[in-house]
Amino acid sequence: MKNDKNISPGEIIKRYVNEVGRYLPKKDRRDICRELYSSLTDMLEDRGAEDVFDFLKEQGTPRKKAATYYTHQYLIGPELFPAFRTVTGIVIPVIAAVLAGTLTITGIFSPEEYTGTGEFILEVFGSTFSGTASAFGFIVLIFFFLQRHGGHGEKLSKDLETWHPKDLLAKGEAKEFALGEQIVRIVFSVFLILLVNWHYDSIGNIISSQDITIIVPSFSDSFIRFLPAVNTLWGLTIGLSVVLIISRKVNYFSRIADYGLKGYTIALAIALLNIERLFTVPALSASAAMSAETAAFIVAILNNVMKGIFVLVIVLTIIDIVKSFVKRGKTADYLE
């Protein structure tokens, strides 16, 4: 039990019930929690001098307890749903923004592809919708697989082996490990590795097809020199997340590794900020759809956008470090 040895059985049950509440549907959460608290307390009192920890162990993990309130068969169960919600909540908007942005830029610089503004708008909305729907379907499939073959998340989370009522948190205390957060980290790192490396290899020239020419600015040599360092960061991020998912525990070494990675992220972002030109203007062919001045203007905008992103990364990483000291994911009290 966190920092308190003389804690009452009632308080321990309260913590257990609040943890169960985290996995319950919002609509009935408070009501179920109140009833559960009342019945568990009755039961413990009735049993006399039984140890509250043994009693709660017998009740099963909070996730398992919450799962008894779901009588229907589901695609993604209550154990994995919070992680599913986090992943979709972040991945879907990002994919939608990237798709919409890419299609808009393509449309602006190669308007010949569309017969009119209407078709262009339809294409942007249609493709963005189908792309995000596919991504959503893909995420659902992954979680469905985890649900069916991951032993309802228990084998994955090793809940039964590691759970102990002594680990229950009081109101306001923070959870140290979040499965969803680690899955998001892995998904994003893989996405960025594929995007940047693919971008570096395949784009950066004038792509011509019949009369249509699209100019995509390429990364500058100065930036490419940093690519191994950037890939290392993403590789290490994936590695750390995989270790955390397997061990399901934040220990001293993983915490040090996490801070090390955050420090490395900030250092790398600062180094990249100091590069004068992140993108270069590609050689323009005679059939180019825009002038060299326009291309240079786009490159300048992209440079500034990219540098803005680096500043954002630095600020967010610092906030993340500060937050990890202040404690995150505080436990709620559903019995109040």
Partner: protein, 127 residues
């Protein structure tokens, strides 16, 4: 020979385990069908979850808390029970009672159960 006997022993043990599991599952399924009747039978009078649990267990109908509480909520959602919180010492408790619909359904279930019981008796005594 020893190896052969041992292999036979292992196989027969595994079969016994398997049949034990099958038997347990079938009994569980059989009981599952009667849980609703058992719960509705006690709720002509007000009960809160824990007293109902104790009463059912004392009368020989063993039921777990993890089964009873979600079932009570489901029956209430279906309109067969109604509930209310009562503030009493030492803590507030949620009391359940059979609704009018619940009583009708309960009597229907009893009828069906008796009918089924008769049919089963005939089927099982048939030579």
């Amino acid at each position: 020979m020893t190896i052969l006997c041992y292999t036979h022993y292992i196989i027969s043990m595994k079969k016994t385990d398997m049949y034990d599991d099958v038997r347990k599952n079938l009994i569980q399924e059989l009981r599952r069908g009667s849980v609703v009747i058992a719960v509705l039978s006690r709720l002509s009078k007000e009960h809160y979850g824990y007293t109902l649990l104790k009463e059912l267990n004392e009368l020989g109908f063993s039921i777990e808390q993890n089964t009873l509480y979600p079932l009570l909520r489901r029956l209430e959602t279906q309109g067969l029970l109604s509930s209310q919180w009562k503030v009493e010492d030492p803590r507030p408790r949620r009391y359940y009672i059979r609704s009018e619909t619940g009583t009708e359904v309960f009597h229907d279930l009893i009828k069906e159960s008796k009918k089924l019981q008769k049919i089963l008796e005939v089927l099982c005594n048939e030579k």
